[in-house]
């Protein structure tokens, strides 16, 4: 089982990212359970979500204290201690950022994946909402599932032109994410 913690700000689609991924895992016959951290949500305020993805039924209903994987949708949070808290040895991080990320290091972080999801989203859907780009990048970085279930999973959240455009985001996320071993 993978325990993933998602960080971002209200309005970026953090929670939807975790839901789409749960959906993608379920479509492959596996199991996914995701939920948001509680607190007053406001546009721009920090948001955390949790996702457990596994080939066996997920029964735990607790928050995630020791994630294997971090997904950070907001570049401003990239060095926050709270983001890295509890990261397990051999941990991975997927970061939405356009800038040089040479300053990111943490003793348990072994793999860093970076993608300029805002830029891709602006090009594909005309809005700087990075979440579907991140979904594709996650699939590639984690190696936990293929690109097709991620695209299929979008059908429950988008339709028509928006669906096609967001599938484009997923594909570009998958293709363009850069992965570094630390």
């Amino acid at each position: 089982m993978s325990e993933v913690r998602f960080h971002g700000r209200g309005g970026q689609g953090v929670v939807t990212t975790s839901k789409i991924l749960a959906n993608a895992f379920v479509l492959t016959g596996q199991f996914g359970a995701s939920f948001p951290m509680f607190g007053f949500e406001r546009r721009g305020a920090p948001v955390t979500a949790f996702g457990r993805f596994s080939d066996k039924p997920v029964r735990e209903k607790t928050q995630i204290y020791n994630p294997d994987i971090l997904v950070v949708l907001d570049p401003s949070q990239r060095t926050w201690p709270t983001v890295f808290q509890g990261l397990l040895p051999g941990g991975m991080m997927l970061l939405n950022d356009s800038e040089d990320t040479g300053d990111i290091s943490q003793e348990n972080l072994r793999k860093l994946a970076v993608i300029d999801a805002n830029k891709i989203a602006l090009e594909e859907i005309g809005l700087a909402i990075p979440n579907t780009v991140i979904v594709g990048a996650f699939a590639r970085m984690s190696g936990l599932l293929g690109i097709e279930p991620c695209c299929d999973a979008l059908a429950d959240y988008f339709s028509g032109k928006k669906l096609a455009a967001n599938i484009g985001c997923v594909r570009r996320g998958f293709e363009e994410v850069e992965i570094f071993d630390l």
């Binding site: 007053f40 406001r42 546009r43 721009g44």
Partner: protein, 319 residues
């Protein structure tokens, strides 16, 4: 004793003499009208008000958490169901004990128009000595945009969504301010954030009126997240609400209404609705129904009021 000279404030900012007791970086959305209103109230009325608030969009800031607070005002976190009754209890005791006070019962439209209307009406009927301020963002916003009694005709919310059969709210809004004026309380008024001089004066009049009993303010406070307008457009939304007569500015002293701002040439309602996505799906017929409702309410105000300027009644096709 030397006579204190009364000096008329000539600038709007002169109204806001007291300090802002709220901290920075509080949890409101960018462009939130409520934040502006909440910060301005103690700057006009003073930092010694006792403010009550309920679970609502104001709660994360007004109510604090555990032993922490985002402001320095004395406050009481009440339930929506009994807010005016709680405020009554405070005001009555302070009066009995001779404690100088201004109790401000600060609630959204969900509380004022819906779930807490019963005790609001009761408090007004008994002429209780406090100020009730309703910030109207036309819905339950903190729970994620649901319809309330003040949501206008046609607006989409999550409980009046745009579906394939039903689209938007199919009922006209309830006019809360007019209902409160009909309680014949010492002071009732409407205000909004585009007309700060008007708002500040009304806050002061409410405070004076409180010496005689109940004061009610209805403030239109657009919600950028819920209405779907750009955060930077919030004040313009207020302005257009006023100059289309969607939200006329008036006051009522002991139930006697007068306009405090006369809009000589009201703009078409579409100039107001075009800013907010919640009206985006409306057909010509929908817009006409909304326009008729706005005209109807304004006509009633016209009939009940003594106006500064001309009474602009809509032209009637039949007579």
């Amino acid at each position: 004793m030397a006579e204190i000279k009364k000096v008329k404030p000539t600038k709007i900012l002169d109204h806001f003499v007291h300090e802002d007791p709220f901290s920075k970086g509080v949890a409101f959305c960018p462009g939130c009208a409520l934040e502006l209103l909440l910060r301005l109230i103690p700057r006009v009325l003073g930092n010694d008000i006792v403010i009550t608030g309920t679970p609502s969009c104001s709660a994360p800031v007004l109510l604090g958490q555990n032993n922490q607070s985002w402001h320095t005002l004395s406050y009481f976190g009440t339930l929506m169901t009994g807010a005016a009754a709680n405020a009554t209890g405070l005001a009555r005791y302070y009066r009995k004990a001779g404690i100088d006070n201004t109790v401000v019962c600060f609630n959204g439209d969900g509380t004022a128009a819906d779930i807490g209307f019963g005790n609001l009406s009761g408090a007004a009927e008994r002429n209780e000595p406090f100020i009730y301020i309703c910030y109207d963002n036309e819905g339950y916003m903190n729970t994620g945009i649901q319809k309330s009694g003040t949501t206008p005709y046609g607006a989409t919310t999550t409980t009046t969504p745009k579906g394939s059969i039903h689209k938007g709210k199919n009922l006209r809004r309830m006019n809360l301010a007019l209902k409160m004026a009909m309680h014949k309380i010492p002071y009732a008024a409407t205000a909004t954030l585009s007309d700060l001089d008007d708002l500040a004066k009304k806050l002061k009049k409410a405070k004076e009126a409180k010496e005689r009993g109940f004061a009610f303010l209805h403030v239109l406070a657009p919600c950028t997240t819920g209405w779907g307008h750009k955060p930077e457009d919030t004040i313009e939304v207020c302005r257009r609400a006023v100059n289309t007569n969607y939200f006329p500015l008036w006051e009522a002293v002991d139930g006697k209404i007068r306009m405090t701002k006369t809009v000589k040439k009201p703009k078409p309602l579409s100039t107001y609705t075009e800013l907010s996505k919640k009206f985006a799906h409306m057909t010509k017929e929908d817009m006409q129904i909304l326009q008729d409702d706005v005209d109807y309410e304004f006509c009633i105000l016209g009939g009940l009021s003594v106006l500064d300027g001309e009474c602009q009644l809509p032209v009637s096709a039949e007579d």
